[in-house]
Symmetry: C2
Subunit: 223 residues, 2 copies
DNA sequence: GTCTATATGAGGATAGAC
DNA sequence: GTCTATCCTCATATAGAC
């Protein structure tokens, strides 16, 4: 039973600055291993190798293997949600729904592809972690899903969403396209920018009511 | 080192009809467990429970745990590829590129959502299986990807694809949206048909050059 | 804070009965 | 073809030194 205090601990919470650096190193290492080996295949020894220390040292920062893994899963969704929400909050209040969606697409891809170990760890293991972790994970996912549902609903309200689409299904298909990008993206082949631009265009045209179509693109501040 | 003969064995290949039924039961059970527990978490005992026999019996049909798992992964991609290719072959030769894409979308969703244990097993574990399995898996994936790349390229050639899209990136985003559906689809909430229709519309409008847009929908034979 | 050493338990694989 | 019994390997977690 992981304690919330442990789970929610962010970089600068715990002990001193040196200690918390090690903590981050272990967390990054855990994301790396978790995404590649899966929940059951994630050995503390592999995490320790990656973080350049010995396995028992992990128990100084987390009470159990399960707590560490849960924190990786939690951080994966949480940082995504946080960043996308921040970008949306920074947009002018009169930004049209489709432009808000384009901004969210860019923000989602930036985090998912930049923190790809956390992203793929969540994608691959959401359905595989034990019941207890999974329940909390689903709650976190639902919060982020609600953000997107609202974006799509706003487009529906203003008539910008094509009427032959089921809003909830379309929302899930869009999130799927974005999530999956972490699985295939190779920075040496495609620039992050080319992925963002193609995704924005695909999604805008995919969702838009042609008679309302606005081609203007936003340039979200500070992404 | 799994032998090809073992891997490629299809339902009616092996021994008698009774024996091959057991083989199928084990294979289905393995897909079920693999999708939920992951590569490392897949216990022969869990597979045996699900298939209603004892663990050692599995070794009568497969030489090792790894061979069984590789077959699950292989079947997941292979049946998808086979069905989509079949549907496309059944279309009139003069079917416009966008209608062919719509037919492929429907075919992909039908298999992925109907055989969802195999689909999610592949999705969640492609990045987690051992190197040797992964290499063969990537080759199989590439073949299916090539089918889609051709569909998109054909649309590009005829001018049906919007020119601001990167064809290869768009193709991967589309596959991602479809693959991810197996993760969230709940038949009690959304009908398979409503998912297919929304995906077809989203993808057609997402890819199409508005000046070439054709609304006509195909009804692929026998899906 | 991080290490070495170890108790404990679980699962894959095989031998051999039926 | 399928089962029971068993061997062997390996990972978590803890104790305790430094």
């Amino acid at each position: 039973m992981p304690r919330k205090a442990t789970i929610k601990a962010t970089p600068k919470d715990s002990p001193g600055p040196k200690s918390s650096r090690t903590r981050e190193r272990i967390l990054d290492a855990a994301a790396h291993v978790l995404s590649r080996k899966g929940y059951s295949g994630t050995r503390l020894g592999d995490i320790a190798d990656q973080a350049q220390l010995q396995a028992p040292a992990i128990y100084y920062y987390w009470p159990s293997r399960e707590d560490l893994i849960e924190e990786v899963m939690w951080v994966g969704v949480q940082r995504l949600h946080e960043h996308v929400a921040e970008i949306l909050d920074g947009l002018p209040t009169d930004t049209p729904p489709m432009d808000r969606i384009s901004a969210a697409v860019e923000a989602h891809l930036h985090v998912a592809l930049q923190l790809s170990d956390f992203a793929t760890a969540v994608i691959r293991n959401s359905g595989q972690v034990p019941e207890e972790i999974r329940t909390r994970q689903l709650a976190e996912d639902a919060k982020y899903g609600a953000l997107w549902r609202k974006l799509i609903q706003d487009a529906e309200t203003t008539g910008d969403l094509r009427s032959d689409l089921d809003a909830r299904i379309a929302q899930r298909l869009v999130i799927g396209a974005l999530n999956w990008a972490a699985e295939w993206w190779n920075p040496r082949r495609d620039s992050l920018d080319s992925v963002v631009r193609t995704a924005q265009s695909l999604i805008r045209h995919g969702l838009s009511n042609p008679s309302h179509l606005v081609q203007r693109r936003v340039d979200p501040s500070g992404v």
